[in-house]
Symmetry: C2
DNA sequence: GTATTCGATGTCATCAAGTGACATCACTGG
DNA sequence: CCAGTGATGTCACTTGATGACATCGAATAC
């Protein structure tokens, strides 16, 4: 157990978000963040692999939660139904703190490097879901299409939720967006 | 006009791909690439913004070509039909050199940083297509869904083509993948 | 033909990201 | 009270990336 000053990781996270929002990502050095959190730069890198990762900690839990929901779907479910279950599960992690999400997203969208990281996190979620679907016997191409399409719905719905009122329902938006997707793709 | 040694940009590109493939992206320094191309590291950064970008030069042309095709689609076309036209156009740029594409993709998939860049290039294409659709009067959410879905089809089809035989038809794969997507999303 | 101009490159200095090696300090268990 | 453990600090170093300035070769003007 640590007894120096509890919660260095959390302090670094909060300091990073604040500084990135205040003066921009590129104008903030790791040394700034660390000193703001009362530690040294070396300690920053012991908690987070790089300067971007500090905004993305915990995304493994989101991925695992979605994967568990996908795997818990009934064997009779179609690929998209299993993905829909995962999307429902995601709202538990994502739909928690509207204001925090709004600030975090505004920081991420303001910088290409951070957006890159966001995208690869989504891609890793898609890859995990695709593999989960393949384990259920879904053909590889169908699995990729369903999983990637799912993350499209997730992104679009989440962005709408973040841009909307603080009391909006992310689960409702998620479901409505999924329905809308089927309509848009069907229209040919 | 430059008269020192024509084509420094091209030499840097070729050297980078070769070295990244031979010894890996992280094991290759910019100095290595530059000296291989007969220039200095400083010159590398005059041609490419960073160490990754050297593998992604020309992606603006792909984006512009797809956007032009999307805008050239008849006004009566549905959003997905316009996106389909853009996908068709993309094959002209992407389906050219199978072996080069295979090598490039193997390098990109071997490194998370390069994959990040690949993803953001796709995202910028999606954003451009979504904006093009909105200019056609498509509601914002539908535009995002159609455009992002389009890049999903593009990725899945392209990966299949790269993994397949050298004489495979990318346009055929692209169209078949799009059809398959509508089937997968419709099955609920 | 020579001078001038301009663009591409080289050189140098510097900062920031990231990493490895090792010391240190506070607490914990015996 | 002491050894051990884990988190942190310190130091040195590599590499990516950028700004400032010098230089060199070719095209063009004269």
């Amino acid at each position: 157990m640590a007894r120096w000053q509890e919660g260095a990781a959390g302090r670094l996270q909060a300091a990073a978000l604040r500084l990135y929002a205040e003066r921009g990502y590129e104008q903030t050095t790791v040394a700034d963040i660390a000193s703001e959190a009362g530690v040294t730069a070396r300690t920053f890198f012991r908690h987070y692999a790089d300067k971007r990762e500090v905004l993305f900690a915990g995304s493994e839990r989101l991925r695992d939660g979605m994967l568990a929901a996908l795997e818990a779907a009934p064997a009779t479910a179609t690929p998209m139904e299993a993905v829909a279950a995962a999307l429902d599960a995601s709202t538990v992690f994502l739909g928690r703190d509207h204001e925090h999400s709004r600030l975090r997203m505004s920081v991420i969208f303001a910088n290409a490097e951070l957006l890159e990281r966001e995208l690869i996190k989504m891609a890793s979620i898609a890859a995990a879901m695709a593999e989960g679907l393949r384990r259920r016997g879904v053909p590889a191409r169908d699995a990729s299409l369903a999983a990637e399409t799912g993350t499209v719905v997730l992104r679009v719905a989440f962005e709408q939720w973040v841009a909307g009122p603080p009391d909006g329902s992310l689960p409702d938006l998620m479901r409505a967006t999924l329905v809308r997707l089927t309509e848009v793709t069907a229209a040919r």
